[in-house]
């Protein structure tokens, strides 16, 4: 083959490659797939992939296939910024899902906002995330919407007079959960016997629990991730501490039962999602996830799954012109109008209050469910 025809065929091949993807909708996914936060990032990625595959199998969005450009942001702020830049400027995606941690969204969100590209968090629950700007969205429910309902329901049910508190104080998620609990307890005028802390990676909580036992509380409030929380419950029962637990968002995972078995009986949890929620979308999601990945989904996978459904619903109303800035803008304008019923139940957005006179992004507007653990399962609490 001579040089000219070689170049010609290369150009032709390039052209073919371009035409092949002309009808694709490129969506960036920036999640922590390695490192400590991978335990959240991987189920989130799976949730996106499952939803996108299902949508594509049904013919895509208006005939266009969803193509995920998946990047690993390693749960690090710096890496999240790099990945966001790559997705926005190099891969030219329509919008980005992620990053996994609230801290990373505070760092990378402004990059997307300045470039006028939607950054859609599915696992960021810290306060103030959406104050970054109008291009920042999330469907993760904030604990300040969930916990007041959880606490008042449990207090009424168990006739609680005083509580002890234990929480992880070096994690943005569990610390922010604690801050909300603290405010709720003050608002509802419930005295706290003692407040104990632990740090990430701790596996022995007996010192704190022995101390809690000595103060004889009616219930124990715990803001921790499922793994830690389950170990805390097991060790509490091992020490003969019988008071019921009230948990934050982190409790909401089937992991709770793998470790705690029956030790967690009577625990109250509020959450946007639980694996036993009987709505049809959720039952389908739980079964499909298990079939595809061979493990039970968690709340993070459910929220990612719903987020993809929300984005697809918005894209359905957008006329893709091929002019990237215009398409990105149209998507940002279409998203707030979406309202769906997904694995986490009925969902719509609510614009956050403006910060310093500048418009904010969009938070989840969702009602929490209150669950109680009975026979090693989350059961929707119905007042009994």
């Amino acid at each position: 083959m001579n040089r000219v025809s070689k170049h010609f065929s290369l150009a032709l091949a390039g052209l073919l490659a371009v035409t092949a993807v002309a009808g694709d909708l490129k969506i960036g996914v920036a999640e922590a797939l390695t490192g400590g936060a991978a335990q959240y990032g991987v189920p989130i990625r799976n949730g996106f992939q499952l939803a996108a595959d299902e949508i594509n199998a049904k013919g895509g969005v208006n005939g266009n296939k969803l193509v995920l450009v998946i990047e690993d942001e390693q749960g690090k702020k710096e890496e999240a910024i790099n990945v966001f830049k790559k997705l926005i400027f190099q891969d030219k995606v329509l919008m980005i899902f992620g990053p996994t941690l609230s801290n990373s969204m505070f760092a990378a969100g402004p990059v997307a906002n300045a470039a006028k590209v939607v950054a859609f968090g599915t696992s960021n629950t810290a306060n103030g995330i959406t104050e970054v700007g109008p291009y920042v969205f999330r469907n993760s429910v904030m604990e300040s919407d969930v916990l007041p309902v959880t606490v008042s329901t449990a207090v009424k049910h168990y006739k609680i007079k005083k509580v002890a508190v234990i929480y992880g104080n070096d994690d943005a998620f569990t610390k922010s959960g604690y801050d909300v609990f603290k405010k709720v307890l003050e608002d509802q005028k419930i005295p706290v016997t003692t407040t104990e802390t632990y740090v990430k990676g701790d596996v022995d909580f007996k010192a704190q629990l022995t101390k809690i036992k000595a103060t004889n509380p009616d219930a124990i409030i715990c803001s921790g991730l499922a793994e830690e929380a389950a170990n805390i419950i097991v060790q509490a029962r091992g020490l003969g501490l019988k008071a019921p637990f009230i948990g934050g968002n982190g409790f909401n995972s089937p992991k709770m039962f793998e470790v705690s078995k029956t030790a967690g009986e009577g625990t109250f949890v509020g959450s946007p999602w639980a694996n036993t929620n009987p709505n049809a979308a959720n039952q389908h999601f739980v079964a499909a996830y298990k079939a595809k990945y061979g493990s039970d989904p968690n709340q993070f996978a459910a929220q990612a799954y719903d987020a993809m459904t929300i984005a697809a619903a918005a894209l359905k109303t957008v006329k893709i012109t091929g002019n990237l800035p215009a398409d990105r803008q149209a998507l940002q304008e279409a998203l707030p109008k979406v309202s769906i019923t997904g694995a986490t139940g009925p969902f719509k957005f609510r614009q956050a209050a403006p910060k310093d006179g500048k418009p904010s992004g969009y938070d989840a507007d969702q009602k929490p469910f209150i669950y109680v653990i009975r026979d090693g399962k989350f059961v929707l609490f119905t007042g009994k």
Partner: protein, 293 residues
């Protein structure tokens, strides 16, 4: 409450001591701060859990599998990295950095191989017994960990003090060159030490994985930090030091959480560590200064 807290301190301290034994052994003989000990510890736990879940092995066989797999990993690390660095007379910092690299590689490999999620031993496998004395609770498994930590320490101490190999190891610790001149098979004993230390780390991984019933690729990191503190406190390379350093750190942590504030646990433990090092710079049992003289 105090009785229960003392029991809590004893079990936590034994966990630290169990981990620190292998760590201090490598330092004592090879003079390497082996930062891959946390990763070896994690591999031991995974070896046992794989034996149990994949091959339905009983717990004893699983512990044996952990011992062999992590021991072999220790040997491999020694053969591929530490031995080459020894041959080139690399300064102390180099093997430390190299083993840090091993940790990253092994942890990432485990994440790829076993996934990032927590794995557990099947419920039926766990010893469920419990001793209750009034208000004080102690589980059989915790008692087992305390016993194993003390037993292994005594065994290692005895081997080092009273056997031919032990004498040879102590000679190497004084001066590898002089030991080689005396006809001691230095490389062979280095390999034996690497195997033993890693095997001990692997067994610690299984016991601690069982105790908290959580095995993850990241489980080695937090305990490595505590392990380093224990070894420094006990005296680098001293076997008794690993046990007493572990118990000391366990007590300091638990008691400060109990009587001060749980926020202060690490602050008090490491503050005390600092104070002790001011008084005894070589740690509780350290002989670094004597050896230099």
């Amino acid at each position: 409450m105090l009785e229960q807290q003392l029991i809590n301190a004893l079990t936590l301290g034994s966990v630290y001591a169990l981990f620190a034994l292998g760590f201090t052994l490598v330092f004592g003989v090879l003079e390497v701060i082996n930062l891959s000990h946390g990763a070896v510890f994690m591999v031991g736990a995974y070896a046992a859990i794989t034996a149990v879940t994949r091959f339905h092995a009983p717990l004893g066989v699983a512990i044996l599998a952990a011992l062999v797999v992590s021991g072999l990993l220790g040997l491999t690390i020694d053969a591929l990295i530490l031995r080459r660095l020894r041959a080139r007379k690399a300064p102390h910092l180099i093997p430390m950095i190299a083993t840090l690299g091993v940790t990253t590689m092994v942890t990432s490999a485990a994440q790829g191989l076993f996934g990032v999620e927590v794995q557990r031993f099947p419920e039926a496998m766990l010893p469920t017994g419990e001793f209750v004395f009034g208000e004080v609770h102690l589980r059989t498994l915790e008692l087992g960990i305390v016993a194993v930590a003390f037993l292994l320490m005594a065994l290692l101490f005895g081997v080092m003090r009273y056997t031919r190999q032990g004498r040879a190891l102590r000679a190497i610790a004084e001066s590898p060159k002089a030991a080689a001149l005396l006809g001691i098979n230095v490389e062979g004993l280095f390999m034996l030490t690497s195997f033993t230390a890693a095997a001990l780390g692997g067994v610690a991984g299984v016991l601690i994985g069982l105790n908290f019933n959580a095995v993850t690729p990241m489980m080695g990191a937090p305990i490595l930090h505590k392990g380093i503190a224990v070894v420094i406190l006990g005296g680098m390379g001293d076997i008794r030091g690993a046990l007493f350093g572990g118990l000391f750190l366990g007590c300091a942590e638990v008691l400060s959480k109990a009587y001060l504030s749980s926020q202060m646990g690490d602050a008090v433990a490491f503050g005390l560590l600092f104070l002790i090092l001011l008084v005894r710079p070589a740690g509780l049992f350290g002989r670094v200064l004597e050896r230099k003289a």
